[in-house]
Amino acid sequence: MAITINGSDVEAPGDARVSLLDLVRDRLNLPGTKKGCNQGACGACTVLVDGERVLSCMTLAVQCEGRSVTTIEGLAAGGALHSLQQAFIDHDGFQCGYCTPGQICSAVGMIAEIERGVPSVITADLGGEGLSLSREEIQERMSGNLCRCGAHNGIIDAISEILVREAAE
């Protein structure tokens, strides 16, 4: 069974120790996914596996056989930008740019979770239908992605803009 990465099939590494993160960065020359701690503690390595946001540093590549992985390089087709990528630029949702691919992949996964109705720990009424899209809700749901440059406001602004736009559509 192959691992599908950004639409292409890749053979799983022979060494089971290889993380999904090191597979894409070191072996497939897809360095857009970043290594910030390799401890499951910063979120810089966030990718989408079967559409769900996960940490590629804590995922063994062999665990992804038969699954579909999307990295930052696979988010938008061709040279175009995903709407979130453009929103990050517009709102200056980054400085050094190192945590940025992880933030963006995480936001893509988060938006899907919100659409599915997944609550967060600060959701007041767990039993209720529908979620409010308050700023705090987005902050809580994005808290697994650290940013040391302090672009937090711009990141949340960018995601909010996309959420509001999607809600309007």
Binding site: S19, R53, S106, G127, G144
Partner: protein, 328 residues
């Protein structure tokens, strides 16, 4: 990380067969095990991927739930029946880690999460009885702000880090286990051990035994329950103290209660004494405080964590007060 082999089990029987080989570990989401392997705290020779175990959340007719071990944390937290019947469980899971980790972690794996004691993590540079029995403990006289106030031993003062397990402890959950010698079921509160002289043993699992499911009995009072986690930053941090509680009040009197604490002991701490002290008492702040004090009477804080005793007391009183207030 030492080299290891990797295989996927098709189901429980297959996993147990593969897991019979010494040096084998079961792999769920990997969010803790992979980290511990990288840190040298775990060095299995073989990993058996058990994410093909059941991912079913079965709703029993009596209102209870049977939860497959491979159910992801997010899936359990977002499940409609959990949110309505056991909100404390939903909230406890959502209070833990980050969304990415919750998407990866399995509930079976979460039960086996190991301590965050920094001396345990620092295998090369520190002494730790949990890593190497008999070596000594550098935490007891070291930085122990995050450590245990209840049930610790001279050998180990580490705490259990899971949020989910605290709720499960309060909810009378039981853990279904399979091994070569057959199946058994253990109450969650008996799955994890206190450290005593063998802190290297986190649980009562025998070698090769596999967690296959968690069973939640019907517990109507749990529909009014919550989980409160107190931590150093607003999100994505382990608990200093957490409280899972369910409360049933009738005519101003506590009819029934479930209470468990996190961040205070080597295992999720079911507050039996507090529960006992509360049943039949008026649902008042005084009674809540008396119950908290009964539970914490034996607390023995360390150099840096005396605040946890007071924090636990206050948090218990506040959580019970909220539940009592919401029920009025």
């Amino acid at each position: 990380m030492n080299p290891f082999s990797y295989s996927r089990a098709a189901g429980a029987a297959d996993a147990i067969r593969l897991g019979a080989v010494a040096g084998t570990k079961y792999l769920g989401g990997g969010t803790n095990l992979v980290d511990l392997m990288r840190e040298g705290a775990e060095h299995p020779e073989a990993l058996v991927d058990v994410t093909a175990l059941s991912r079913e959340i079965e709703e029993r007719e009596d209102g209870g739930l049977m939860i497959g071990a491979a159910v992801r944390n997010t899936a359990l937290a977002e499940h409609r029946a959990v949110r309505q019947r056991y909100p404390m469980l939903s909230r406890a899971i959502l209070a833990g880690a980050s969304a990415q980790i919750r998407n990866m972690a399995t509930i079976g794996g979460n039960l086996l999460q190991r301590t965050r004691c920094t001396y345990f993590y620092d295998g090369e540079g520190s002494r730790c009885n949990k890593r190497e029995p008999g070596q000594g403990c550098d935490a007891i006289d070291g930085f122990n702000r995050n450590h245990a106030i209840l049930g610790a031993s001279p050998a180990c003062v580490a705490t259990h880090p899971s949020d989910m397990c605290v709720a499960l402890a309060a909810l009378d959950a039981s853990v279904h286990i399979e091994g070569r010698s057959g199946k058994r079921s253990v109450p969650l509160v008996e799955l994890h051990r206190l450290p005593d002289g063998r802190p290297d043993l986190d649980t009562v699992l025998e070698p090769g035994e596999l967690i296959t499911a968690i069973e939640l009995p019907a517990l109507p009072l749990a529909s009014r329950s919550t989980y409160r986690k107190v931590r150093d930053r607003a999100s994505y941090a382990f608990a200093l103290v957490s409280v899972a509680a369910a409360l049933e009040v009738e005519s101003g009197t506590v009819k029934d209660v479930r209470l468990a604490l996190g961040g205070v002991a080597h295992k999720p701490w079911r507050a039996w004494r507090a529960e006992e002290a509360l049943r039949g008492q008026p649902a008042s702040e005084d009674a809540f405080r008396a119950a908290a004090e009964a539970e914490l009477a034996d607390a023995s804080p360390l150099k840096d964590n005396a605040f946890k005793v007071e924090l636990a007391r206050r948090t218990i009183v506040a959580v019970l007060g909220d539940l009592a207030g919401a029920g009025r």
